[in-house]
């Protein structure tokens, strides 16, 4: 659904090496600098495969948007071979921009103009020629076309200039100068074009929350970690989590922390648990295949009650699966993975700002509950850019630690059974508080034994329950209509953006509905969920996995039925799919006879 005021989605499609992602990056940062809300997501080929299709999609809006739109307003082709299959995503009266002076012959249908629908507006320009005339090189085609778009849509060039200068600040000045020339050349061409599209860029909203910063989910997590005083990071690269490691490799040593790239994921989690045991704010980040390898040590962290933070950015699975495609199919692994009853805290932010805030609080929560905390995101959220308004003051700074007080005459009980189920935790080096930490079941002192297995199991589970009400952390939140509604939409992770967009659209259509996002997946905020279910005639759970893992989790915990909408399409959930299901369910609620007769989808 379009927002009031400006709401434009740009898409730039090219081949790896065309500067597609770079052009998209400049567009999104310039739009953010103008004061617009921005959501962006880049699709690129598996890095290990070399060249392939890249698409950068950027939604620029006056009002807060929650997902990309399904239809693009302005589409740019830097490589027709890759772009042609995507022309259909451009809306009626939207713009399709392409090079109309190719240097190599193409067969019939090989040029994108053959695929522009009559309702779309074609804009051809000699992109390569303009680049060569401006810079003596065809390498700036991506910047030329960016300038063309800005000129065409009457966007001011200054924010683009500023971003280009920032982007190439570490290179010789000639690089930025050439790119500015390329931009200006494209801008002049675009400015003179008679426009037939109906794409309108309005004025940006007044900023009332301070200066916006463009971040990806991974970037937000790294920033949250740094603001929360992360001290140790151990990681092994894996798509789509690698950029967290790359950022911390640069920033963490500067902040006085330690960074180590380990030889594999098992080493990474082992070092993280070890550092957590020693009192260091420690983290690692991986994807599903890495988390699968980490489950044994994760169990040790649960058993030994060691705080640690593990980021899992999901991608298509199982096994190596779809390394550069998004999915939400590691929920079971994150919540249940490992041997035995191994409860842990699993937090799944739903947007980039949520990544920042959850990462900022993850260490504190891990320490408070003496347990590994998994931040569960996915590729769509890892790589998605959004405008974020970071806190002006550092709200995530670690609080001073209070060492446990040892009672005279008593041995230190690291795993004491207490009313809160949280035991006083000493760190190695605390005087007179040596204890055994082991993966074996143990007594209150930490010594191996099975006598207290039942009580210790209960302790490990019960201590986590208050986590659902941890101050400062949104563990779930309801949106839309309050009170009784026909359709409730329950979501988690990145899919919640699409859920919100679908819900708003359904409300526009007069459908009684609301949505709830669940951020804490383990333990579940059951009380709030029950209240939501009580208010909804029917609850829909859209998610990006085949098994309906979150639907299973919720319906199993609450004993309530849900309607599933499971997709494994390797792309974000389509708003239209959710909306269609909401319509069907609303119809069934209001026309039971129709539903009983098998009406609907």
């Amino acid at each position: 659904m379009n927002k009031a005021g400006t709401d434009i989605q740009f898409a730039i499609c090219g081949s790896a090496g065309d500067g597609t992602i770079a052009a998209g990056d400049i567009m999104k940062r310039a739009a953010a600098a103008m004061g617009f809300h921005v959501i962006a997501f880049d699709v690129y080929p598996p890095e290990i495969r070399g060249f392939g299709k890249c698409i950068s999609r950027i939604r620029v809006s006056s009002e807060q948007a929650y997902s990309l739109k399904e239809q693009t307003d302005v589409f740019v082709s830097l490589n027709d071979g890759h772009a042609i299959p995507h022309v259909g995503e451009v809306r009626d009266c939207g713009a399709v921009i392409y090079d109309d002076h190719l240097i190599a012959p193409v067969p019939e249908g090989g040029h994108i103009s053959a695929h522009v629908r009559p309702a779309q507006i074609p804009y051809g320009l000699p992109i390569r020629q303009v680049s060569e005339q401006a810079t003596n090189s065809a390498r700036s085609r991506n910047i030329v076309v960016l300038g063309y778009v800005a000129g065409l849509l009457d966007m001011p060039p200054e924010p683009f200039h500023k971003v280009v200068n920032q982007k190439f600040a570490t290179k010789p000045p000639a690089v930025a100068e050439a790119n500015i020339k390329a931009f200006d050349a494209g801008f002049e061409v675009g400015r003179k074009v008679f426009r037939l599209d109906d794409v309108e860029v309005g004025s940006a909203p007044e900023a009332d929350r301070g200066e916006a910063v463009m971040m990806t989910g991974n970037g937000a997590i790294a920033r949250g970690f740094l603001e929360a005083g992360i001290q140790s990071y151990f990681g092994y690269p894996i798509t789509p989590a690698t950029s967290i490691m790359e950022r911390l490799a640069v920033e963490l040593p500067k902040a006085g922390g330690r960074f180590l790239q380990t030889e594999d994921e098992i080493s990474a989690i082992s070092a993280t648990i070890g550092a957590g045991f020693a009192g260091s704010r420690a983290a690692t980040a991986t994807s599903g295949p890495g988390l699968a390898l980490m489950t044994e040590m994760l169990g040790l962290g649960v058993m030994a009650e060691v705080p640690a933070v593990i980021v899992c950015s999901q991608r298509g699975g199982p096994s190596t699966g779809l390394p550069t495609k998004t999915e939400q199919s590691d929920l079971n692994l994150a919540v249940f993975g490992g041997s035995g009853d191994a409860p842990r805290i699993v937090i799944a932010p739903t947007n980039v700002e949520g990544c920042y805030r959850c990462a900022g609080m993850a260490f504190e929560i891990a320490e408070a509950f003496q347990v590994p905390v998994i931040l569960l995101i996915d590729l769509y959220l890892s790589n998605r850019y959004e405008t974020v308004f970071p806190s002006g003051r550092n709200v995530f700074a670690p609080k001073p630690r209070q060492a446990p007080e040892r009672r005279e005459g008593e041995e230190y009980k690291r795993f004491a059974l207490t009313e809160s189920h949280i035991s006083p935790r000493a760190l190695p080096g605390d005087p007179d508080m040596m204890y055994t930490a082991t993966g074996l079941e143990h007594n209150e002192l930490g010594k191996p034994g099975d006598v207290l297995h039942m009580k210790m199991n209960a302790k490990r589970h019960e201590k986590l329950k208050p986590a659902t009400r941890y101050p400062g952390l949104t563990t779930c939140k309801r949106f839309g209509a309050e009170g009784k509604v026909d359709v409730g939409i329950l979501g988690w992770g990145s899919t919640f953006g699409e859920i919100l967009e679908a819900m708003f659209e359904a409300q526009e259509e007069g459908i009684s509905c609301s949505a709830m996002k669940v951020v804490m997946l383990s333990p579940l905020p059951e009380e709030e969920l029950r209240a939501f279910f009580d208010d909804c005639e029917v609850v829909l759970v859209p998610e990006l996995n085949y098994q309906g893992q979150f639907a299973n989790l919720v319906s199993g915990a609450l004993g309530r039925p849900v309607v599933r909408l499971d997709r494994t399409c390797a792309t974000p959930m389509a708003v239209a799919d959710i909306l269609a299901e909401v319509r069907r369910l609303a119809s069934d609620v209001n026309e039971p006879a129709h539903a009983a007769a098998g009406g609907g989808a």
């Binding site: 002076h101 190599a104 193409v106 067969p107 040029h111 103009s113 008679f194």
Partner: protein
């Protein structure tokens, strides 16, 4: 099974559109591809003056909705410039380096506005009216109630002139041999027609030829036209309506005969068996006059498009080369033309 025939049409105006529609009606399986330089689908160019009545959204001018092309499987390719036709290989080459094969080719590219030789150096000071974009530029550049200097005044121009008058603008008409084109009139035949225009408030200048145009950016009027009698005329925009010149430059390798336009039989076939032509681009053989003649005007053009399509599909219908050509002042005091009415 044989591959469906691929009919390629160059041009998406009345002739091209009518041909595409007729081809589809005659063969549900054939492929139809239309190339046009236009940015928007087919609209009636004679409706462009309506812009001055407020119809400034191009979607309001479309003859059919864009979905028509999808529904009729007509591949409309806009912003495509044909640069070459290979009459032997049966291929069309486009400026962006794409080559498209055809089984039959209909050239309905129309013509571009003809500009008298002595004014070509000042073309950038003359507003065109050959497309929606050009018409909108006139609309935007012309101040409300402003004045237009019209050189020539062919029937397209006269139509615009009448609309301008009725919407509060003023017009100066510099008469030349192309005034009322495509009607070929003597000075005597033109006189009563010009009187009609004078009576409507048009300033008519006869017996003087424009020799130069200059821009006056400092203030109104924005354009100044120098005449060969030493006088000057001021206005906000200058427009030239001096008839059309056929667009045939891309046909030089097509193995067809060309004079001013593509030479065709009354059945609209060129000297290449696979290539046909219709509309303002072609000259049709008139056996009585023993000459190839142009037949302009949207009604003729539309008839030619449909006729060519039927003949491509096997018919042998000739164009009526004796179609009436007249212009007169009616009892209502208005100018009437067989070439240029808005009747549908």
């Amino acid at each position: 099974m044989a591959a469906p025939l691929h009919h390629v049409i160059i041009g998406s105006g009345s002739a091209g559109f009518g041909a595409a529609k007729t081809l589809r009606e005659g063969d549900p399986d054939c492929r139809i591809t239309m190339f046009t330089m236009d940015g928007i689908p087919f609209y009636h160019r004679y409706e462009l003056p309506e812009i001055f009545r407020g119809r400034t959204d191009w979607r309001d001018l479309l003859a059919v909705p864009p979905s028509f092309y999808d529904e009729h499987r007509i591949n409309l390719r806009r912003r495509c410039r044909v640069v070459d036709v290979d009459g032997a290989a049966h291929t069309v080459s486009l400026a962006h380096q794409e080559t498209v094969p055809f089984d039959s080719l209909l050239v309905a590219a129309g013509g571009r506005a003809y500009l008298p030789e002595n004014l070509t150096g000042q073309a950038d000071l003359i507003h065109g009216f050959g497309s929606f974009e050009a018409a909108m530029k006139v609309y935007r550049d012309l101040p409300k109630g402003g004045s237009v200097i019209m050189i020539g005044g062919d029937m397209i121009g006269i139509d615009l002139l009448l609309t301008l008058l009725s919407t509060g603008y003023s017009v100066t008409l510099i008469v030349n041999a192309q005034t009322f084109w495509p009607h070929e009139l003597s000075a005597g035949e033109r006189a009563p027609l010009l009187d009609v225009l004078r009576n409507k408030g048009v300033r008519v200048i006869e017996n003087a030829r424009p020799v130069g145009i200059s821009a006056r950016n400092a203030g109104a009027p924005a354009r100044q036209v120098a005449l060969d009698d030493g006088t000057e005329v001021g206005g906000d925009v200058v427009m030239a309506f001096c008839g059309l010149a056929s667009s045939v430059e891309f046909m030089l390798r097509a193995d067809v005969d060309i004079e001013r336009g593509l030479l065709v039989t009354p059945e609209l076939r060129t000297t290449n068996e696979a290539i046909w032509a219709a509309g303002d681009v072609c000259q049709i053989w008139h056996d009585g006059d023993k000459a190839y003649k142009f037949y302009h005007g949207w009604k003729n053009v539309r008839v030619m498009g449909e006729l060519a399509a039927r003949n491509i599909q096997g018919a042998h219908e000739p164009f009526d080369v004796d179609v009436e050509d007249s212009i007169w002042v009616g009892e209502d005091g208005e100018i009437h033309s067989t070439f240029w009415t808005r009747e549908t």
